[in-house]
Subunit: 441 residues, 2 copies
């Protein structure tokens, strides 16, 4: 396979700081590979699924990266996922489409940790990404690669946030974008698509119905179908969460990572990042990989069921129901990869109720000041159960991925406030009304 | 003045990466000073306004910082505003309250730049801060300092976003928080306060009425009144925008910075940052300071009026009206400092209409994929006027501060989408419906 490397190109001086600060650090992508049947594909052409139906994974010349980049060189680079330039699939800086995604904060959460029995608890806040969710990572890398491959029109079905993110990056890239989403998708995601100029439709049905319409139109009109995991590069964006966690822990990995699992692209990506970092030699000698823990909602838990039953893939989960729309995925295309990631790292899979999710949103806001999304809250809600089960213990450093900002879910918080006259006097509130009483949740 | 430096303290190992990566780099705060009458105040005690009525400014031992920190040392530090640890007023790391604020991206905007006649246009996207706006900067530093000073209860009036930010940081810090806001404040800000556990009230009136109620209650109950510019440290948080702009331009400053101006704390802070960086010697030899340009709404433009009339302070602007609530401030306490910053840097002040603001929101979303807030859009809307006036020219590197995420203003985008049946076929959209046609705005 030829090494993709664009050393002959002059990076544009005016944007270079935004992309990366060390000239010459380009992609080491070599090819695409099927994790099921092993077949390889040319990464210089648009690709979707393997002939065998499996998603494809991007492969890099890891030995060359090991020679070229020492982990400490990353320190001075731009505070976005493009700091991991060599491990991303875009060859030419001029195709990089960025809105500042990635390098989200890793926040120590001692008060919340106290409440759930895990004093060394951290939340990585993906809500600080462009468009307010971790979908921006996949969209940034997916759209950049689409531009590099000469794709002019991207089409995708979406439950909401992914469509908003892809519409934003397509606009920035100057690509045409078609989106179809269920009629009951969240308003804010519809608005993001409209604002970014995507041609947007609603469908009287589910995301699977939207997927069929997009698939057919893409074949008919020659658009690129960027459905989850049919498109091979958004996983490369998502894997940067794993790279960042390692760097933020100074290459001494945490003991566990909790990931709210719908399509599962993030957990697949983090597992891929662990494999790549290990091969490159960035992870400290003798450091154990974190347990990867999949969290789902009780009303839609196909991965949990398959994990418990010892299956290698999940069955379609009928009657899926949860308020956390991002993890309402009855059957993920990459389910076998999710299950592999969980089992090979000694992790587990667990489901929580919608009521627990809502309580966790409130608990995190009151103890740590973060308004998190219901999917992230599901992972928080799982913590006390995991401690009780013995899957986590109090001495462990545990990372929860909050996949999006609570600002995108305004319907979860009711407004019912006392109204004062202009000349009112305030009294000291009773203890129960105060911010400080985290214990009361 | 004694140098505030807490070298005897052990930073907690578990959180150190999040705060800063170089141990020993603490605050060089010396005292507070009145910019009007020159009187100095002890920074070890809670302070509000000067006896003469002016806001107070924090002063540092800049000569000592110049000896201690070379600008290139900043490179490897944490990607938040705490990278500028020495120039912030918090002495002890254990009092730092962080949600990952600051180090927001500086995004080259070539397509938008083309549309407005400024090819070297950048937007610094403050929407990627915690709580979705630049208010997080002031709240992070203000709350941290309040904690260090032993303050247990903070109270503030707010138009919305500042209250949401302070409530979040107070929750993280474990402080009590009281908020009063006008009954017509945006729903999302109310929800942020409620979620974070702040004791929150609405008032049948304006923010000035809220301010009176808070002021009286604070005196009565011994709460700290954290109203804008009465509290001396939020400006220190806001000034980090100026420090970051300089670092992101590799200490070769841009030619102009546009700032949507309500209370004006940000522009005062950026001007203060320029003075401090100059004194420390971080700015490259011979580099001119950027023109600081204040943008207001035509329905509320006290600074523009005072600038045009050559006055040193503004008059109260009666009947203030604009959809951009963040710049609906009829009389700012720091108006004289804003006018000084504009005049000393060769900047200007300009007003735009609400209609122009709405058009700019759409233009930025379609050309650059960013959903910006109406205040940031006001600054974008000013660009073609400034080019026409000759205040900006096509060769200049111009930075617009987008002060918040458009996700906090969902009411600005209407949803009216075509609905498909499950078996629908999509057609290729007419050119006018596409993302790519930025020119049509």
């Amino acid at each position: 396979m030829p090494l993709r490397c664009s050393t002959g190109l002059k990076p544009r001086r005016t944007v270079i700081w935004i992309i990366h600060r060390e000239v010459g650090s380009m992609s080491y992508l070599t090819h695409l590979e099927c994790p099921k049947c092993g077949k390889t594909y040319d990464a210089d052409k648009p690709q979707t699924l393997c002939g065998c139906g499996s998603p494809l994974l991007a492969r890099y010349d890891l030995a060359a990266i090991a020679r070229a980049v020492k982990r400490d060189q990353l320190k001075g680079r731009v505070a976005s996922l493009w700091r991991f330039r060599e491990l991303l699939p875009v060859g030419d800086d001029r195709d990089v489409v960025t809105l500042g995604e990635g390098m989200t904060p890793m926040l120590a959460c001692p008060r919340l940790g106290q409440a759930v029995g895990l004093p060394k608890l951290y939340i990585k806040d993906e809500g600080l990404n462009p468009t307010g969710t971790f979908k921006a990572r996949g969209a940034a890398v997916g759209v950049s690669k689409a531009r590099e491959l000469g794709i002019r029109t991207v089409a995708m079905p979406t439950a909401g946030n992914a469509g908003g993110a892809w519409a934003a990056y397509a606009a920035k890239a100057g690509l045409n974008m078609y989106v179809v989403m269920p009629i009951d998708a969240p308003d804010l995601a519809k608005k993001e698509c409209i604002a970014a100029g995507a041609v947007t439709y609603l469908v009287k049905g589910l995301i699977s119905d939207a997927g069929k319409i997009i698939g057919q139109a893409a074949r008919l009109h020659g658009w690129f179908d960027a459905s989850t995991l049919k498109e091979p590069y958004r996983i490369e964006g998502k894997k940067t969460m794993g790279l960042e966690i390692a760097e933020q822990f100074e290459w001494d990995l945490p003991d566990a990572i909790l990931y709210p699992t719908g399509g599962g692209v993030g957990i697949i990506g983090i597992y891929k990042a662990l494999q790549e970092m290990q091969a490159i030699g960035w992870i400290k000698e003798g450091v154990r990989w974190p347990k990867l823990i999949s969290v789902q909602a009780e009303g839609c838990s196909p991965i949990v069921r398959a994990y418990r039953e010892g299956k290698e893939a999940s069955d379609f989960y009928s009657g899926a129901r949860t308020l956390a729309a991002g993890i309402r995925v009855p059957k993920a295309l990459g389910d076998f990869l999710v299950l592999e990631a969980i089992r090979r790292t000694g992790g587990t899979a667990i489901a929580v109720t919608d009521e627990e999710i809502l309580k966790a949103v409130r608990l995190v806001a009151r103890t740590e000041g973060m308004l998190i999304c219901p999917e992230g809250a599901a992972a928080v809600a799982a913590l006390p159960h995991l401690v009780k089960q013995g899957a986590l213990n109090a001495g462990e450093r545990v990372v929860v991925l909050n996949t999006g900002s609570g600002l995108k879910y305004p319907e979860l918080i009711a407004v019912d406030l006392p109204v004062l006259e202009k000349d009112a006097e305030l009294e000291v509130a009773a203890a129960g009304e105060r911010t400080g009483d985290a214990g009361s949740e």
